[in-house]
Amino acid sequence: MIEIQNVTKVYKLTRKQMEEQKTKASMKIAVKDVSLTAREGEIFGILGPNGAGKTTLLRCVATLLNPTQGQITVNGFDTVKEGEKVRRSLAFLTNEVKLDAHFSPKYLFRFFGRLYGLPEDVIEARRKELFEYFDITKFEDKRMEELSTGMKQKASIAVSLVHDPDIIIFDEPTNGLDIITARAVTDYLKLLRERGKLVIISTHIMPEAQKLCDRMAMIINGSCVFQGTLQEALEQTGADDLEDAFFELYRRKEETV
């Protein structure tokens, strides 16, 4: 279970970043007072436009960043004080976390397995299962740099799941994938849900969220403007689909500013 309580994340901007973003403010509030709860057995979607703060929020949950204010607990462990325990029970997949292109999927799988302290036979069994599911057994000995984007993505997913985590955090899972590979990935996410895992994804593709997510939160400009099921989103906004619902929420948010 993940509990996010009143989390705010502020980036201090360097002078260079201020110039790049053409702002005079020396701070950027990326996430503003967000509270969420996500439970095992569901796919939870963090939705929002570019720059909304989705990645920032997920990085905080994954212990890579510390919230400026508020608290996040993962399975009851605090992400700041008990980071090692939190990391043991979750996997974080994002564009910014990459596998070394020089190594093969097989080598990387073993390497990370060992870092999680798993016995060799467990690692081997996990590898067989995951590599077969994602169809990467054929090129398990090739270097990552020799693989196509889709193959790379599949290999990354397999490697990040080496420790069979309870919680899988996936930042834009289908970004850059063709529909076939994207389907393979989303199907696996559903499989994980069936196995009782908690899957959190971020996306700005509403149709995808509509199909996949059991519950969702909409983040606009760092603030959480909605949290609930698809049904609740449609009811609250009187829209026919999630995309329309999103635009309605976006319009309301703009009005309040």
Binding site: Y11, K12, R59, A62, T63, L64, L65, N66, E84, K85, R87, R88, A91, F92, N95, E96, V97, K98, L99, D100, A101, H102, F103, Y107, F111, F112, R114, L115, Y116, G117, S160
Partner: protein
């Protein structure tokens, strides 16, 4: 501790499974060193041959009769003065005189007006040397009374021309010295009176030295410099890649997502770096020791001496090198962890590299006078200690303090790196 090993093995595997890296790190340096030494040997040999083959042209102004006679007397060929004129300088005949192993082209000049033209030619490198005698040199010598002004022969030469420089040295040593002795002999009747004593006429055991120390002096001046520079150079690119490069590629974040301690990641990387740069330096050093005799052989001079080190000295050297590598690697880790990418990493490391180089250069010229406390100075002390191990001037407390300095400062920087690994500003630019 087990995790440190896992990280370290990954870093090592990463390098050794990459043919390009293995070549760049271990094979190319050896080839470059050997090639460079061969080239240096060939070039130096050809320069020396060129010097030997050059025949200096010397203009003698207002030569006294006694000097002309002396020259005719010592020349080893028997050609007649005017007949061996092969070419002219400003209408004046040039005579060839072989004295010692050198054939001089001699021009005898009386005309005061030509002397400026001659100086011009020295400047241009056309003439190698002018010997200008004062007027009435012979008379002055003959009528000399104690207290009179001693006649002076002036030389004009161009020190920026090797030929001119060499010509002056040769003429002073092989011609004027003999000429002076002849004049002295004439004045005093015999030179024996002047000798008073001789040095080491029959003593064949004159040279008493510690051969090891003599060799050490030779190697001691360059090898610590080379070793420190090579150790650092080896660690530099690897370190930039291992810390800044991994950050840039996003692979560091993957490591940080595992439940192992961040300090474990740092130590694993540091140890791998130490092994790699140590190995690289070892290969460099080996190539140098192999190539050194090659250089001497090409020069035809002394064959390479073998380093003959007492075991205690060897131990000290190894300990100093290992701890120094630790310090270098920790320094590099701090610099490249601060950097966002490889390029910035190299930029941050380069000032440290400069310092290491400067200290290396200083170590070539200083040494014995280092006090025990100075051995503690970070980087400087241990480099000096390394040199003094070679020259056998090291003291035990000095060695211990230098090692301590390496370990303490190295540990400090390693700790600092681990601290920085906890900063989200540094690790994620956030």
């Amino acid at each position: 501790m087990k995790n440190v090993g896992i990280i370290m093995r990954k870093e090592l595997y990463r390098v050794f499974s990459d043919k390009k890296m293995v070549f760049g790190l271990f094979i190319m340096p050896a080839l470059v060193v050997i090639g460079l030494y061969l080239l240096m040997g060939i070039m130096m040999a050809s320069i020396m041959k060129d010097w030997e083959e050059h025949e200096p042209t010397v203009l003698v102004y207002q030569a006294p009769e006694s000097f002309q006679e002396y020259m005719d007397q010592v020349r080893e060929d028997n050609e007649v003065h005017s007949a061996d004129t092969v070419y002219k300088w400003h209408e004046l005949p040039v005579g060839l005189y072989t004295i010692g192993d050198i054939r001089y082209h001699i021009i005898w000049l009386e005309d005061e007006q030509e002397i400026e033209a001659a100086k011009e030619d020295i400047y241009n490198g056309e003439l190698d040397l002018i010997l200008a005698f004062p007027k009435g040199f012979d008379q002055q010598i003959q009528n000399y009374q104690v207290g009179d002004i001693i006649p002076d022969i002036e030389t004009y030469y161009n020190p920026s021309e090797d030929y001119s420089d060499n010509a002056r040295e040769d003429v002073l040593a092989f011609i004027l010295e003999g000429y002076r002795n002849q004049l002295l002999e004439k004045r005093l009747g015999s030179l024996e009176q002047l000798e008073i004593y001789t040095i080491d006429r029959d003593n064949e055991e004159s040279v008493i030295q510690n051969d090891n120390k003599a060799q050490g002096k030779l190697f001691g001046s360059i090898i610590p410099y080379m070793i420190t520079i090579l150790l650092f150079a080896g660690a530099m690119s690897l370190g930039a890649d291992s810390f800044a490069g991994e950050k840039e590629r996003g692979t560091m974040a993957a490591l940080l997502m595992t439940p192992i301690k961040r300090s474990t990641i740092v130590y694993g990387k540091l140890f791998a770096l130490m092994i790699l740069s140590g190995l690289s330096a070892l290969i460099y050093g080996g190539a140098m020791i192999f190539a050194m005799p090659l250089l001497y052989r090409t020069l035809g001079a002394m064959t390479g001496q073998e380093l003959n080190f007492p075991p205690s000295q060897m131990c000290m050297m190894l300990i100093l090198i290992v701890t120094l590598v630790f310090l270098y690697v920790a320094l590099i880790a701090v610099c490249s962890t601060l950097a966002k990418n490889m390029k910035e990493g190299s930029t941050f490391i380069s000032p440290v590299y400069m310092i290491v180089m400067v200290i290396g250069v200083i170590s070539m010229f200083r040494g014995e006078e280092v006090t025990n406390l100075q051995y503690l100075i970070p980087l400087y002390g241990p480099t000096m200690a390394l040199k003094n191990v070679f020259t056998l001037d090291i003291t035990l407390p000095g060695f211990l303090l230098a090692t301590l300095s390496n370990l303490v400062i190295g540990a400090l920087f390693a700790w600092l790196t681990a601290k920085m690994f906890h900063s989200e500003k540094i690790m994620f630019n956030a």
